[in-house]
Symmetry: C2
Subunit: 542 residues, 2 copies
């Protein structure tokens, strides 16, 4: 017995201790709001009682196959009801959900299925061909379930059962249990590393629970948002929003095609209040025909993260009437863990350009992120908050991943010194806001000066003819490196490098102005990130 | 090494695991919103940077006295800045905050100081006399710190130092640390139980964190509410709202006197958006002169809990334009853990009387309460959801207390079967909403305060003329309930209600003194137990 009176006879018991898990939110919401609409897909509607029942069917059908704790269930799917349900049904069986990026090639998908040891594979027919090719590269049999979608005709059948037939095998009121321990894995997400094999990022129930709730706090969501699924659920489990929506009893509007027309149509038809998207999606909406926006009068809230969004994109969205929240995070942090918290009393009066520039910063830590700093990558000494000194972004807290699967060396390296090493380079402003200047490998060093490719891209995006821009280093005899810009123009614009260079000179220090301007489409990764390593090769050849 | 790939080389580390503690919210908000107003008291304003600094001063001054893990710091205070700060500074020192009900008598306060082993006692001069009397009953010395308040002239000094002098001894940037373990105690709150001595309810950091966040979800609070402190912070630590306000960077408006005039004045002057209160406080506002409300045009949100509020009070508040949220909980559950979640789509169209009746129910579980049921007190079999069958309310989850201090038998009894036994009797409606029908058999709730009938009976029995006594609740327009005493006199004694009342006043807090004394034989069961349910009927008719 301890001397401490507060540590004596006061142990956890089933009455006062429950492992934190986002599965609890589904059970509660099904209980409190059984008849509210949970998921919309075309003309289909599932209320919370039905979603809960379908998830229990899924969990029990998995359990009947012997799938449980420590097992992986893979899924490749657009944002369909089955994809939403898998976020609950799979962990309710005790298993781990591995949502695979549908833009990956067959070889990478095969690697993931093998590395993650998937026991079952849910396949949306839109991706049945690449899934089939991936499976053909694997020696063992993996049971495939086809997510047949009444709104998608093409694709081939790979498995014996459809998703609905799988659910039919399950029991609607099957018992299920929370994880024994909140540290147990709930999801596995592979990062698209630019070099080497993808790494499997493991999430646990505790982190998923906390970041799901943190989303509500960061975005002031309130109860019953109507959320449009523009963000793929395979991205950090849709930044934990499947679980957030269960917590706040929101409605998920499914979306197969992330194009401007169906997006605006869904916003209008379902009175969507919230959606998330990478800057590229926002750019799509900004440049869309104004007619598509007609009839949308209500306030729509957008959260953007991913690539550092140019201020011009934030300004563009806000000028269309959208309320933009800028967040930032990585696969390793369950999606967003910083936000550019708006300082209304200080910033509301600024002109829109200044407000957009303030908001383009990655900001401060999420409510439930314990630590955020910009520091020396070697010593971990924080840089001064001067807005100038560059350092690496470090995070710590419960919404940092459990680690990389079967990769102890990389895990311990990325956690060295008790902080997660993001690999992103940033400055720390006097007001405590962090601003990304570059990925560490994307920085350009010219004549001994650091040039942030993002800063140059920000300026390029403000040129009226520019639709997309990317800046990389090109070797230079005199300067070591010089910035080289790749530009895609808006429709109808003419290639005029001189006008672009002049625009840069007006807005940037001379040494930051691109010495080369190249036109044409930009190569992108499966997640829509511009592939700078390819551009660097092209730059060297130019 | 385990076979489970998700349990291998994926252990917690400082990078990805932090104990949950509401102290993290203060550190974050001071970092993100240093200049926002955190606390208002009269003409005084403290911003978040200042509050954080003051809490660090407090923690380091406590630490310098050797106060740390496992130690208790008691406080008796109205809702002043020092009381708010103690909710952070005390646990930042590793210690446990014991906020004492200032309406208690000296003997009970002495019991609490002794049982809780308080090492330091913060005293608001308004309660210096009862504090002095309590200290006089204790053999050991407890250092007293006087919370001198520029807005309160009366009271006597008990200690050598004022609160501000104590802070001056501390260091503004003192290092502090989170608890080693989130299960460590953060607060101690005494309930006036139905039998015998008050019980010390222990809260831990994990539960305080989660219920603080749950408040945001339940009330859809959003960022930066302005919160008026009508609810005493000694009540379940103000239902965890000191910590909630740190999470959402809200402003606390202090309030010494819970009277209609200062309440309406504060709402108008500070544009208060949220406050909490027992039904008696709402009744006060409903019956106040309409002139007091003049100039209040903005939406004010009220959360009420405690005694089951009559529908008439909810309707009255809403007719004045207040938005009422009805919650329910106990000291053992960190304050509210159920709410009458509003089903807008189903209920908005009902007439106001029906809406008020729906809202007068205690409702459904909080987002972070794991389980809530109405069940048989012996078998724990849930009652049918028929709105008729009575049972006891049971809860389970992370926002159920750590247990009763130094009281293992009562703790394990109250957690029997893996559920917390609330002692409250209720029905379960077909829509899943719980409604309390009878408070636990004997407790009397007067003006939001629990009165143990047995404690009053104990005093009555000590009156020389009293042979037998039983105390029950009698409905009262102003107080909700008041104690009503049934007394049988010893032979030869004369009916002298005045003498009995005086005897009670000498030995009990004023609010516990019976408002009605009725003489005569007591109805008993065959085994000699007094039949209180019959007395309650008689009391209502009296």
């Amino acid at each position: 017995m301890s001397d401490n009176i507060y540590e004596t006879h006061l142990e956890p018991s089933p009455a006062n201790y429950t492992p934190l898990s986002p599965l609890s939110f589904l059970a509660r919401t099904a209980d409190v709001y059984p008849h509210r609409t949970a998921v919309i897909h075309g003309d289909r509607r599932y209320n919370w009682a039905e979603v809960y029942e379908r998830c229990r069917r899924l969990a029990s059908a998995l359990g009947a196959r012997g799938i449980g704790e420590g097992d992986t269930v893979a899924v490749i799917s657009s944002n369909l009801p089955a994809m939403y349900e898998a976020h609950f049904g799979v962990p309710m069986a005790g298993a781990v959900l591995n949502a695979i990026n549908f833009r990956l090639d067959a070889a990478t998908i095969a690697f993931i299925l093998e590395h993650g040891a998937a026991k079952l594979f849910l396949v949306d027919p839109e991706f049945s061909e690449v899934a089939r090719d991936a499976l053909a590269r694997i020696d063992r049999d993996i049971e495939v379930i086809d997510i047949v979608d009444p709104y998608y005709e093409a694709g081939v059948r790979l498995g014996a059962l459809t998703y609905e037939e799988l659910l039919d095998q399950g029991t609607p009121d099957a018992a299920w249990s929370l994880p024994r321990d909140e540290w147990q894995a709930i999801a596995l997400n592979y990062t698209s590393g630019t070099t080497g094999d993808p790494k499997g990022v493991v999430y646990h129930h505790r982190g998923a629970y906390l970041n799901a709730v943190s989303n509500v706090l960061a975005w002031n969501m309130g109860a019953h948002p109507t959320y449009l699924w523009t963000l793929p659920m395979f991205h950090c489990n849709g930044w934990c929003f499947p679980w957030t929506l269960a917590a706040v009893a929101g409605t998920s509007v499914c979306l197969r095609e992330v194009r401007e027309e169906p997006i605006f149509q869904a916003i209008r038809e379902h009175r969507v209040t919230h959606f998330c998207g990478a800057p590229i999606v926002l750019n799509l909406l900004i440049n869309a025909d104004a007619k598509l926006r007609e009839g949308i009068e209500h306030q729509v809230h957008v959260m953007t993260a991913g690539a550092a969004p140019p201020a011009a994109i934030i300004e563009g969205m806000e000028s269309l009437g959208f309320d933009v929240t800028h967040a930032y995070g990585l696969t390793e942090t369950y999606g967003p863990v910083t936000l550019c918290a708006w300082q209304g009393d200080l910033w509301d009066g600024e002109p829109s350009e200044v407000r957009a520039a303030l908001k383009a910063r990655q900001g401060v830590r999420y409510h439930m992120l314990e630590g955020l700093m910009v520091a020396d990558p070697e010593t971990l000494a924080p840089v001064p908050r001067d807005g100038i000194t560059m350092g690496e972004i470090f995070m710590r807290g419960n919404n940092v991943m459990k680690g990389y699967l079967k990769n102890p060396n990389t895990t311990s390296k990325s956690f060295e010194g008790g902080w997660f090493h993001s690999g992103d380079l940033a400055v720390w402003h006097p007001d405590g806001y962090v601003q990304i200047k570059d990925r560490s490998k994307d920085i350009i060093i010219s004549g001994g000066e650091n040039i942030s490719s993002i800063e140059v891209e920000d300026v390029l995006y403000r040129h009226p003819d520019v639709l997309e821009a990317a800046v990389v280093a090109k070797s230079d005899e005199k300067w070591g490196e010089v910035p080289c810009a790749f530009v895609t123009l808006v429709e109808g614009a003419e290639e005029d490098p001189q006008s672009i260079v002049e625009h840069c000179r007006e807005n940037l220090a001379r040494f930051k102005t691109p010495k080369h301007i190249l036109f044409g489409p930009l190569p992108k990764t499966s997640t829509g990130k511009i592939q700078k390593f390819l551009l660097r090769k092209r730059a060297e050849q130019a």
